[in-house]
């Protein structure tokens, strides 16, 4: 592939079929809406409409395919598309952050793949090739990788070696996958059912009111027994577990994490096969988490918060969904993260921080309890909720702790699920010390370290430290950032 491939190429012809299959149902759905509005519900009219939709869909699919051209040059890829508004996009290889190859079920049957070229810019579909032959996709990916590397090193002539077998860092057997699925208990199917019911309700096909008459409700009440309720609960539980297993298998089937030159390469999926490379340079924080039961059995999940990665997952990429600690440590080391210190090394927030956390809930709870006695017993429900919230807050205080060594800051937290975050000092963006009114009264403060790709729910912070300790910790983190950065710089110069 030394000579530039400068001929403009079209997408794989199978794209026609895929796009057609995507367009026509949309048009039909819109048509059904129109028909419902116009009250013309003859079968003949609908068939005619369907035929028109199919024909139009074919035309649109063809126009898209015909007007979509991409040219792979030695250092850049050019994508031209659009019928009336022609758009020409040039993506230099050294700007490419990530190349994802995604294969849905149909694509796998047709031997094609969707290639997504990400540059870290804001646009959603920056460089999507949907879709090209799988062999082309793989060749393109390797070509871009080589191109990006060559541009970075500015060293030519060095013939890139044939892709060697990448070392496997983590893989999941089918047995492990099914086992992991048991912990993925999910009631998502309940949401799905209620969504369907809502849709049906909106279409107005079923008149619920005529179903639920008082007589029927009475009759139903006689049928409802304790056994039935328990049976139903068991059924829901069972379905939740099945849903968890199915979801896990669909997502993580054939999970393989390998060490590629650009970073950690993750492949997974049953019907939709996805491949993502997590560039090591762009990892910010390592996150090890475990649920109440899975943690007790020694299973954890490792993910990395990355910069500019897929926003769908909140910038967090899973590296090992269900693994033993001794499997996680080598992956951490490979990604350049230090090993977390032993439990004893973690310090928790001072005792009075517990009062800070539950103060509000307890105050409201006491007021509501008073209200329950004086005015309305229903205020007691609110008091009970407050008691639960206070309990949750106390649990959070118990699990919250931090430790540090010469390389990183380690923070634990969580309610039932425990999370351990590893933040190497050089990944720091800004450091803040925050004191709310109650915190000030109790001489407490929270230290937050902002990192690239963090979110409000998912950040590194140490809540309710002693005020003086918090200020000192912020300054220590700042110095540690400089030292770590200078060490790294020294290494890259040498």
């Amino acid at each position: 592939m030394s000579e530039p491939l400068l001929e403009a190429k079209r997408l794989h012809p199978a794209t026609l079929l895929v796009r057609w299959l995507r367009i026509v149902p949309q048009m039909l759905a819109a048509g059904v809406g129109l028909a419902a509005a116009g009250r013309s519900s003859q079968i003949g009219g609908f068939l005619l409409f369907a035929a028109i939709a199919a024909a139009l869909g074919a035309v649109f699919a063809f126009l898209y395919w015909w007007r979509f051209l991409y040219t792979v040059g030695p250092g850049e890829i050019v994508i031209e598309k659009g019928l009336i508004n022609r758009q020409r996009r040039v993506i230099p290889f050294d700007r490419v952050q990530d190349i994802a190859i995604e294969r849905k079920l149909l694509a796998r049957l047709l031997g094609t793949a969707k290639v997504r070229i990400e540059t870290g810019g804001a646009a959603k579909d920056e460089g999507d090739l949907d879709s090209i032959a799988i062999a082309d996709a793989e060749a393109l990916r390797d070509h871009i990788r080589r191109g990006a590397r060559a541009a970075a090193a500015e060293s030519e002539g060095e013939a890139p070696a044939e892709p060697v077998e990448e070392p496997v860092l983590f893989a999941m057997s089918l047995g492990r996958l099914l086992y992991a699925g048991l912990f993925g208990f999910s009631l998502i199917f309940l949401a799905a059912i209620s969504a369907v019911v809502q849709q049906v309700d909106q279409l107005g096909l079923i008149e619920w009111d005529s179903w639920f008459t008082p007589e029927r409700a009475d009759a139903a009440a006689h049928l409802v027994s304790l056994q039935l309720a328990l049976g139903l609960a068991a059924l829901i539980l069972l379905l939740g577990m099945v849903a968890g297993v199915v979801r896990t298998v669909l997502r993580d089937f054939g999970f393989r994490l390998t060490r590629s030159e650009a970073g950690l390469r993750r492949r997974r999926g049953l019907f939709t096969l996805s491949e993502v490379v997590i560039p090591i340079r762009r990892t910010q924080v390592a996150l090890i988490e475990g649920g109440l039961i899975s943690r007790a059995l020694g299973w954890h999940r490792l993910s990395f918060q990355t910069l500019g990665a897929d926003k769908k997952e909140g910038g967090v990429q899973v590296a090992a969904p269900f693994a033993r600690m001794e499997e996680i440590l080598p992956i951490l080391a490979e990604a350049g993260f230090p090993e977390p210190p032993p439990r004893e090394a973690f310090r928790s927030a001072p005792k009075r921080a517990l009062f800070r956390r539950i103060a509000l809930q307890v105050a409201i709870g006491v007021a509501l309890t008073g209200g329950a006695f004086l005015f309305d017993w229903r205020a007691g429900i609110g008091a009970a909720v407050m008691a639960l919230l206070a309990l949750a807050a106390a649990l959070r205080w118990r699990t919250h702790g931090h430790a540090d060594d010469e390389r990183a800051l380690y923070v634990t937290g969580g309610l039932l699920k425990r999370r351990l975050r590893i933040l190497p000092y050089e990944k720091t963006q800004t450091i803040s010390v925050t004191k709310g009114p109650i915190q000030r009264a109790m001489r407490l403060a929270t230290v937050t370290v902002d990192t690239a790709g963090a979110s409000a729910m998912n950040n590194v912070h140490m809540a309710d430290l002693d005020e003086r300790e918090a200020e000192a910790e912020a300054d220590r983190l700042y110095c540690a950032y400089f030292r770590a950065r200078d060490v790294l710089r020294g290494q890259s110069i040498l």
Binding site: Q429, S432, T448
Partner: protein, 176 residues
């Protein structure tokens, strides 16, 4: 990396809290006036919202005419006169060798350290009100998320630009 050895020490001493407690630079005093005018505008808006109620629904009750807008106006004016000075005092900044520290917030107090090496770009912005007082807001943007942009309002326009230029020069130095 040898020349950095000495600099390294100074970096960390600059952030030492023991001697840094009184070293905060306050904002320009004119910033209080900006805050006052802003609060006064808000007060006017609140009274404007209260007035129709006074003409309409409140006439049905025993509440005397002008009572509600009067109370709103008094509260708002009090806030406009008293509170801005407190808010102004809560602000402060420290320009270090390699970092900018900003403290802000009256109710919730926040101190933020922004290393210059993390600054992606810098804005100096001037609203219409700020312009009439000759003030500007300096904003440092980092690649972070929550503290991604750190703003420092109420600087003299020339000071803001000077600070921006110094930070820019340091970032450039950092890149070399």
């Amino acid at each position: 990396m040898q020349p950095d050895e000495i600099q390294d020490e100074s970096r960390c001493e600059a952030a030492d809290p023991a001697d840094g407690a009184e070293a905060w630079t306050p904002l320009d005093p004119a910033h209080v006036n900006v805050l006052r005018v802003r609060a006064a505008i808000l007060a006017g808006a609140a009274v404007l919202i209260a007035l129709p109620f006074d003409i309409g629904p409140l006439r049905e009750t025993a509440i005397p005419v002008f009572a509600v807008p009067g109370v709103v106006l008094t509260l708002a004016l009090l806030l406009a006169i008293v509170y801005p000075a407190r808010r102004y005092r809560a602000w402060g900044y420290k320009e270090g060798e390699d970092e900018l520290q900003i403290k802000r917030g009256n109710l919730i107090r926040v101190r933020t350290i922004v290393p210059f090496g993390r600054v992606q770009h810098i804005d100096v912005a001037q609203g219409p009100l700020q312009r009439s007082f000759g003030l500007a807001t300096l904003t440092l943007h980092t690649a972070g998320t929550q503290g991604a942009s750190v703003s420092l309002p109420g600087l003299r326009h020339a000071d803001a630009e000077g600070l921006r230029d110094r930070i820019r020069a340091k970032i450039r130095q950092d890149l070399v």
